[in-house]
């Protein structure tokens, strides 16, 4: 509705409206809270962790396999290191995996998707067929193959995951760009003589930003999950680095005797992924409604 005679209604700007609607759905708030907590924990890990030295190398054979107690909230592992501290430092690694993988995938995938959709012709066939090939292999298998060939460490596992992840962004960008390029304002820019790159990156890309944001939020969680899976299979970060996936895999060996070794890192993964899922989904409902207007 537009303004009436003179006094213009005080409209909540798009952003305020978004905040109001976001605050009305409890699930999204929980998601946001979880993500904030984990990011804070990751940033201030050295100060938060009760035994910062345990995270890397310290060894106290004395109190190995201590069950969770006041001194060691998450108990201690087979060499006596405090599991809580290792989990806290592990959050750094996981967030790094999530962010790096998503960043690489967006930087590689989105421009390819845009070119395939807008320029079309040979580009479209080559890019989309290549994407189909990559996507027709289950991601874990491909990542596993790539990670195993390299020396197993964190960086290689991140590259392996990105190697299988970028095609999803090509497909997302391709689908969105195809529908946006039908809009009249794209034709207007063409008729005014704007360059192809201007149209792709300054006209089409901003309009898919919201869908991209939703996928990025969800994918950070899934990338962490994939990273942990690779760790679990032994191709991720090697001990003693405190990676959640590896900790679960090692904890599994002593499962019967020390259940807490595997349980708490797994719980941490679960919480992170849950947080990013809830927040991402809340974001999607929010942006869809905004789209409808």
């Amino acid at each position: 509705m537009n303004t009436t005679s003179g006094q213009s209604t005080q409209y909540k700007s798009g952003f305020q409206r978004a905040i109001y609607r976001f605050s009305r759905s409890p699930l999204s708030i929980i998601g946001l809270v979880i993500i904030l907590v984990i990011s804070v924990v990751a940033i201030f890990a050295p100060f938060i962790a009760p035994y910062p030295k345990d995270a890397i190398s310290a060894v106290h054979f004395g109190n190995s396999f201590q069950p969770p107690s006041l001194a060691h909230l998450f108990g201690t592992d087979e060499v006596g290191r405090d599991v809580l501290s290792r989990v806290i430092f592990g959050s750094r690694l996981s967030l790094k995996v999530g962010l790096v993988v998503v960043a690489i995938s967006v930087l590689v995938g989105v421009p390819l998707g845009l070119v395939a959709a807008y320029v079309g012709g040979a580009w479209e066939v080559v890019i989309m067929r290549m994407t189909d090939v990559f996507l027709s292999i289950p991601p874990l298998v491909l990542a596993l193959a790539v990670a195993a060939v390299f020396k197993p460490n964190l960086t290689n596992s991140m590259l392996a995951i990105s190697f299988t992840w970028w095609p999803w962004y090509v497909r997302l960008a391709y689908g969105e760009a195809l529908s946006i390029k039908e809009e009249d304002f794209v034709e207007v820019c063409e008729s005014v003589g704007a360059s192809k790159s201007h149209i792709m990156f300054k006209e089409i890309l901003p309009n898919m930003a919201s869908t991209l944001l939703v996928k990025v939020t969800l994918d950070i969680g899934y990338a962490i999950l994939m990273g942990a899976s690779l760790g679990f299979l032994g191709v991720g970060a090697q001990p003693p680095t405190p990676a959640w996936g590896t900790m679960v895999s090692l904890g599994r060996v002593h499962l019967s005797r020390a259940w807490w070794l595997a349980t708490f890192p797994g719980l941490a993964i679960f919480l992170t992924v849950l947080g990013s899922n809830l927040f991402g989904d809340g974001l999607r409902d929010l942006l869809d409604v905004e789209m409808e207007r």
């Binding site: 509705m1 303004t3 009436t4 005679s5 003179g6 006094q7 209604t9 409209y11 609607r21």
Partner: protein, 337 residues
């Protein structure tokens, strides 16, 4: 009680949105006689579709709220009936033609399947498990399919046998609209609400549909509430016209009288804004539509009205009789007519 087929008394509908409460329908009065075609005319956002939805009971109640008013149909107030009762009443005597033929038919079922379900349902309460599963054999059942074919022929669709087994996507806009009209004529309803059925169609096809509607309505003696934003279409089909502006009925009257000699300032402005074949000059109406979140006090047209006085700004006007079946909702009507 009254011999009107439908009577709306002082209907008021508000919508609760995030930005606040939109007082969309302020006061709607409407009377429809049996076998009479009444046109509800107004620009986008004046609340004509909301009025129709209020009658049909398809207003989504969470955001919408019917503050007050009665919709008396066959001597019962629809608004106070329970859903089950209202559906039963509507099933027998009221039907509806939607606006956009492209999206109003279910895309994954053939025309025949949808019509047979409707016909079956009109006759008996339940349509049995076969109907529910949409088994292909089921739609071949003789009586319902025969009625469907008759109805399609009744709305001048060429080759109904082919149409019955085709999917909506295979039909043109005009053809789909005829199917929707056939569906609306399934039960022998005495009252029909048509929500701008021809807006999405081309002019020549629209003419065909209007002719069809006119003939069938006269034949069956159906009363119709025809909603449109096009005065010309209303003139062609309706005996009486109600002009709506910003949630109020501002003027009603017999079609020819109202168009030749409009009374309410808004109707005058509206008729003057339409480009005519006689090349009379057209001048729009100053200002813009009011904002329902902060509607202007008193008469909602006062910010755009030349004759607005102090009284117009404070007290909302009510419909006053100014001639034979002519009603106008304006305080200053005597001063300039």
């Amino acid at each position: 009680m009254s011999q009107h087929i439908l009577e709306i008394k002082h209907l008021q509908v508000w919508f609760h949105t995030i930005d606040g409460v939109a007082q969309v329908i302020q006061r709607v009065e409407l009377v429809i006689e049996p076998h009479q075609a009444v046109g509800l005319v107004g620009e986008t956002g004046c609340g004509k579709s909301v009025t129709a939805k209020a009658i049909l009971g398809s207003l989504p109640v969470p955001p919408a709220e019917i503050k007050r008013g009665e919709v008396i149909f066959c001597n019962q107030d629809l608004l106070s009936l329970r859903v089950k009762q209202r559906k039963q009443l509507l099933k027998q005597s009221m039907s509806y033609i939607p606006q956009d033929p492209m999206t109003s038919l279910n895309p994954v079922f053939t025309i025949g399947q949808q019509m047979v379900d409707l016909i079956k349902w009109h006759k008996c309460a339940n349509i049995g498990l076969g109907g529910l599963l949409g088994l292909r054999g089921w739609t071949k059942n003789k009586p319902a399919r025969k009625t469907a074919l008759q109805l399609l022929d009744y709305v001048n669709i060429p080759a109904p046998e082919k149409i019955v087994d085709s999917y909506p996507i295979e039909l043109s806009g005009g053809m789909r609209q005829r199917v929707l009209i056939a569906m609306a004529l399934v039960g022998d309803a005495q009252f029909l609400i048509a929500d701008e059925p021809t807006t999405a169609l081309d002019v020549t096809i629209q003419k065909g549909i209007l002719n069809l509607l006119e003939e069938r309505i006269e034949e069956r003696g159906i009363a119709i509430l025809y909603i449109t934003h096009n005065l010309g279409v209303a003139r062609r089909l309706c005996a009486r016209i109600c002009v709506m502006y910003a949630g109020n009925v501002v003027e009603t009257g017999p079609t020819l009288e109202l168009l030749e000699d409009p009374a309410h300032p808004y109707t005058i402005g509206l008729i003057n804004s339409v480009p005519k074949l006689t090349k009379e000059s057209y001048v729009g109406i100053e200002g813009t539509l009011p904002d329902y979140l902060r509607p202007p006090s008193g008469c909602r047209f006062h910010p755009r009205c030349r004759y607005a006085e102090e009284i117009c700004r404070n007290t909302p006007p009510s419909l006053r009789e100014v001639g034979e079946h002519r009603f106008v909702s304006c305080h200053m009507i005597e001063s300039f007519r």
